[in-house]
Symmetry: C2
Subunit: 294 residues, 2 copies
């Protein structure tokens, strides 16, 4: 199947699952729930959840639990976007072509919505036992992946280093450290959670890890390139926001950075070569990350 | 044993457990870890964790897992204090006689520390299987309690309603709604988590629930009274911060509010009467909540 068709189909069921898990706007406190839904349904590409469903298919796993895990990852991702955009962080006005969360709901509600989404991600996964009879052992392993993706080695650690790096000259190693956390950790957790909920073997988990680690880094390099080259309208967020910051483009020309992204994508494709035709969507997804324009 | 002696002993082991669970300041990103530790070790009364250990003793439970659960509750509590104090929320300058977290570390790091503490609370509980062989079923139940205490029915929901209520005239019912969430939910989760980790029966869980629900509300009524009557120096936080807000004292004289707190404490003591001498610490703790001056 062509990737765009696959993504189109999967995004529908992913959004249905998010719809099921997020509290209704009619329920009090409705402003909080509106704010949580706003960023979650801002029309992201849903790359991580689509990837998770594609991994599940390789291992012939049941779809429903992976769909819930995928929604949890997407809620965490939304939570981190709300935080990153805050005035005291990146002070962004645009996200996916729309006003950022705090500009609509105020900083206070935006922060609480971020916490609410993080809490809901844990809840969605924890309820997998009661609601979908997922073995308890797997749930504990999935929560462990979430903890790792959020914590010092993940989103929060990466964001802290990123903030502290502003106005300073960073080395390529510093930058890799930041991005392996800010982008890499969530990509990796997404892959591992799909594996755990599929009952994949350790060997398979290692292959998927290699795929997600390279793809996550490629994603960030492309992000940095787009930040310099893309139009704000196409990008849907404040372009050139990062010009005073060290990015991957600070170390190389645009063309060289593109070359790095290509190599990383090649590595990720190699990692899933062993699954042959079954990895077709993962291969297309990796190429999509490289070629994306927004 | 007299309560003050009991608290003195227990606070030591609770702080040791927090020390064990919180990432070291030497580990990168150290500012984040410093910020997480700052509010956690600001010298709170540790009422919730002390209460949890006392509940565990009634049911002759093993101490170690409850101690970890108690630390998780305390980390969540610290996380909520950091958020509540932010400029976009209560804009507080003092907390336990010291500068609030964001005044020392900046808003960005303070927010990330709040997220970090929440993540760590889930991690501490989730690791109870691997580290202390707590049955998986119990862990999933404990996480469920944390989810509930944080979410719409808990801290986040209560804080949202509180913020939305500012400048408006609230009814007594509104106020009860807010406080059952802001203070009550965490007290209640603390009690239930101690029960779950003790393997307490449903009947026991109901008794403890009655105890914590009344005590949590009493705690908040006393807080409102102290906010009007206490000296900032004794209180250790910005006194009269809440004068433009509806509080329990808005509906009654100080003496009447004190009377309500006394009644609530009586109810909580009645709820644990069935345990006789074994509930002695819980009874003393309830009286302490009523008589506290800070």
């Amino acid at each position: 199947m062509k990737l765009d068709e696959y993504m189109f189909q999967k995004v529908i069921i992913i959004e249905d699952e998010l719809e099921r898990l997020l509290p209704d706007e009619e329920i009090q406190p409705s402003t909080l729930h509106e704010s949580m839904r706003y960023t979650t349904f801002l029309g992201g590409k849903r790359i991580r959840p689509v990837m998770m469903l594609a991994i599940g298919e390789i291992f012939k796993a049941e779809t429903a639990p992976i769909l819930t895990g995928a929604a949890a990852i997407e809620m965490l991702h939304s939570s981190s976007l709300i935080l990153d955009d805050l005035p005291c962080m990146d002070d962004a006005t645009l996200r996916r072509g729309q006003k950022t969360n705090h500009l609509i709901f105020g900083e206070d509600i935006a922060i609480l919505a971020g916490f609410g989404l993080m809490n809901l991600a844990f809840k969605a996964v924890n309820d997998l036992h009661k609601e979908q009879s997922v073995p308890l052992k797997r749930i504990v392993e999935v929560v462990q992946q979430l903890n790792y993706a959020i914590g010092t080695e993940g989103l929060i650690g990466g964001q802290t280093m990123d903030l502290e790096g502003e106005g300073k000259t960073l080395t390529f190693k510093d930058l890799e450290f930041i991005h392996s956390r800010k982008t890499g950790a969530l990509f990796n957790a997404a892959g591992q959670i799909a594996c755990i909920l599929s009952g994949a073997s350790d060997k398979d988990r290692t292959a998927i890890e290699l795929y997600t680690k390279n793809l996550g880094l490629a994603f960030q390099v492309v992000d940095d390139v787009l930040d310099v080259t893309a139009d704000e309208k196409v990008l849907g967020k404040d372009a050139e926001k990062d010009t005073d910051k060290t990015t991957f483009v600070s170390f190389s020309s645009i063309d060289e950075a593109k070359k790095v992204a290509e190599e990383l994508v090649e590595f990720s494709i190699e990692a899933v070569q062993r699954y042959g035709k079954k990895a077709d969507i993962l291969v297309q997804l990796a190429n999509f990350v490289k070629d994306r324009e927004m």
